[in-house]
């Protein structure tokens, strides 16, 4: 009898320990499967799946269980989905959500329940600036991060003096344009015209017609399929002024649907599928084999997020349950040889990364963002002092003030 009791006790003591060892790491993947943002959501899923597949669905010796949740691109739904992930599925870590406003909607909740979030896409500046969250790490650049060196590049390398901007009238458009404008004007250029087009505008005709004909270049900041539609109409109107773009204007995700109108567009980003390094060639080849398309913003972002998860898990030897240690590992990642070049997480959870200046060219029968210049080690604050940077209000439609506008 006593022997049985002893055996039972041993069994009981061993069972939970073994169970804990074998239990998979549960990842809540917040994506968008329905509505206007669904294309980006699908690409995110492709990036994440590829990384897990390459690693046999096992990171740091633990199998990975992904719970995919559709936020529908609505802040309130995102909040419910996050609660579902945390409270119902007890996820150890969240990868997502897609849109900046979704990430902002769950920011406070995440702080409250203390669940690590790796952002594969949301770029809102304040997530790692004025309202930083110790449980948040961004795998992509902040909105303005690549655009600030790009502003300097436009003024100093391309020698543009006067530029007109046009962009999507929402926070991502505002923040990217603001970063570009600030660095461009600090380097001696002048933004002489700013236009904002509503996200769902049907026709860019009136905006294209309104562009000042005597500018050296225009800077376009579009997301989703808007870059495609804008560039097409721009070409149809026969304008010859060179086009600069933010990363998503000529993102690989939509570049495949573009034609000659995209040729020659110079853009900036924290990634290009055409980065000529062995690590990136390997990634792009694997991605092309799986989805017969080049990886773009969302795919590369989600792939990086999975990589961050992997590296942080390795650092804590798979013990994701020790949240503080895991978060510390995540926040202090320093990757030397990623497919995007070296990356280091700064003290606010944003990566210091390489910014690529890219030019659309036709190679191997398809449009590609050929890298024409790299800026290594770019922080979200660029060359500005973080303290004074943070003391100013967040980049917006009218901040920094455009003092060189011409009527």
């Amino acid at each position: 009898m006593s022997r049985h009791v002893f055996g039972l006790a041993v069994l009981l003591a061993v069972l939970p320990a073994r169970a804990a060892e074998k239990e998979p790491v549960r990842v809540g993947f917040l994506t968008v499967n329905s509505g206007a943002l669904a294309a980006g959501g699908r690409q995110m899923g492709e990036g994440l799946t590829l990384y897990l597949k390459e690693h046999g669905n096992k990171l740091a010796g633990r199998s990975i269980e992904v719970v995919t949740l559709d936020t529908a691109g609505q802040p309130a739904t995102t909040r419910t989905r996050t609660q579902e992930a945390v409270e119902r599925y007890k996820v150890h870590v969240i990868i997502g959500p897609l849109a900046a406003f979704e990430a902002l909607a769950i920011n406070d909740y995440v702080k409250q329940v203390k669940v690590p979030v790796i952002s594969p896409s949301a770029a809102a500046e304040d997530l790692t600036q004025r309202s930083p969250n110790p449980w948040f790490v961004r795998a992509v650049g902040s909105s303005a991060q690549p655009n600030q060196p790009f502003g300097e590049y436009a003024a100093k390398t391309l020698k543009y003096k006067r530029i007109a901007t046009i962009g999507d009238d929402f926070a991502f458009g505002h923040e990217t344009t603001a970063g570009f404008q600030r660095a461009f004007e600090d380097s001696g250029g002048k933004v002489v015209q700013k236009q904002w087009a509503p996200l769902n505008v049907a026709d860019y005709g009136s905006y294209v017609a309104g562009i000042k004909p005597d500018v050296d270049a225009i800077y376009a900041s579009f997301a989703g399929a808007n870059g495609l539609r804008f560039l097409r109409q721009y070409a149809e109107y026969g304008l010859k002024v060179p086009v600069l773009g933010n990363m998503t204007t000529v993102d690989e995700g939509i570049l495949k649907n573009m034609g000659d109108e995209a040729l020659g567009v110079v853009s900036c980003g924290w990634y290009s599928a055409a980065i000529d390094t062995p690590a990136n060639r390997k990634f792009v080849e694997a991605f092309r084999a799986a989805h017969s398309a080049d990886p773009g913003y969302y795919s590369a972002g989600a792939y990086t997020a999975a990589m961050f998860l992997d590296l942080a898990l390795q650092k804590v030897h798979g013990k994701v349950e020790d949240k503080d240690a895991f978060m510390k590992a995540l926040r202090s990642l320093d990757v030397q040889d990623s497919f995007r070049g070296p990356m280091r997480i700064d003290e606010r959870g944003n990566p210091v990364l390489t910014v690529y200046i890219r030019k659309v060219e036709r190679k191997d029968g398809r449009l590609q963002n050929t890298v024409v210049q790299t800026y290594p080690g770019v922080s979200q604050f660029w060359k500005y002092d973080p303290k004074t940077f943070l003391a100013q209000p967040v980049y917006s439609r009218d901040n920094p003030k455009a003092s060189n506008l011409e009527p």
């Binding site: 309130a76 902002l104 406070d108």
Partner: protein, 313 residues
């Protein structure tokens, strides 16, 4: 008999959080109740007043914005902020009512739609106040009398209390002489006028009452989400409330509540199992309109009556 059933159903609602082991279902129940208050308020207009509004999200949204803005930006404490949010939003509904009630039918629908779009645009564009599409965040739930509303269960109980108040008071309103007058104005405005009722005033009072309860739902929404962005003012939100009312049964007390249950459950629970849940949502509404055009509550009532032989009620 119906009253007993109602009380029993209500007690079950109260018991739900105690029965659920997971915070998730408690939070879904909370969302259902907030949506139900919102739908009940819209039902005053749509169901009892015969005035179809496509801009009702305005009251929920403005009240939510005010609640969070007054606390996080203006530095008010929670109670005065909540009261001010409800009062200001109700005042706004008076203004909007005066504007919108210049028309009925399609004209009324268009004016409410336009007002809703204006406020949506304002929330989107007036970045210095509303935070633009990044919205307002950094809002904590209050702790009245040392009760921590940050806990899903206590917050749920508070929502139940507010919902009970809303349900009972709205029930009293629609059963009062005024409620009869409102239904009369819906069906026979000319006769009501001939009987000496001030038709326009009756509609305006209903409009303001709807705005008031919409504002109450907005305060709860703000507390629940601790975040507000222009999406809350979007047309889809107004349309969703209208769907709740129509699917559940316009002009019935329980209808909007049932509609809220259906919509919130489809949106938040079923979507975890069905990828194409938006399509399912559409199919469910098509089915409701095809088989129970009057809504679920009256429709089920009709089926039940048909099954019984006439005369044995």
């Amino acid at each position: 008999m119906i009253r007993v059933l109602l009380v029993a159903a209500f007690s079950l609602l109260l018991l739900a959080p105690a029965l659920s082991p997971s915070d998730f279902y408690v939070n879904v129940a909370t969302q259902i109740l907030i949506a139900a208050i919102f739908a009940l308020s819209l039902n005053l207009l749509v169901g009892y007043g015969g005035l179809i509004s496509l801009g009702h999200a305005v009251y929920l949204g403005v009240s939510a914005y005010l609640t969070i803005w007054l606390v996080t930006r203006a530095g008010l404490s929670h109670l005065p902020a909540a009261v001010a949010a409800v009062v200001l939003t109700t005042a706004m509904s008076l203004l909007f009512g005066i504007l919108a009630l210049r028309a009925t039918g399609l004209g009324f629908l268009m004016i409410t739609l336009a007002l809703g779009q204006i406020l949506w645009g304002l929330a989107y564009r007036w970045v210095s106040v509303t935070g633009g599409d990044n919205g307002l965040s950094g809002f904590q739930r209050p702790q009245p009398f040392g009760i921590d509303l940050a806990s899903p269960r206590t917050f749920y109980l508070m929502t139940v209390a507010v919902f009970a108040c809303a349900f009972v008071l709205i029930a009293v309103l629609v059963r009062s002489t005024f409620g009869a007058g409102l239904r009369g104005v819906r069906d026979q405005p000319r006769r009501m006028q001939a009987l000496g009722w001030h038709v326009w005033m009756v509609r305006l009072v209903a409009f303001v009452a709807a705005g008031f309860w919409g504002a109450v739902a907005g305060v709860l929404y703000a507390y629940y989400n601790q975040f507000v962005s222009p999406h809350v003012l979007a047309l889809t939100n107004s349309a969703e409330a209208l769907l709740m009312v129509i699917a559940g049964g316009a002009g019935t007390l329980l209808g909007p509540v049932v509609g809220a249950v259906v919509v919130v459950m489809l949106k938040n629970v079923v979507s975890a199992y069905v990828t194409r849940w938006v399509m399912l949502l559409g199919l469910v509404f098509v089915a409701i309109v095809a088989f129970m055009p009057e809504g679920l509550v009256p429709g089920i009532d009709r089926l039940r009556r048909r099954r019984r032989p006439a005369g044995t009620t």
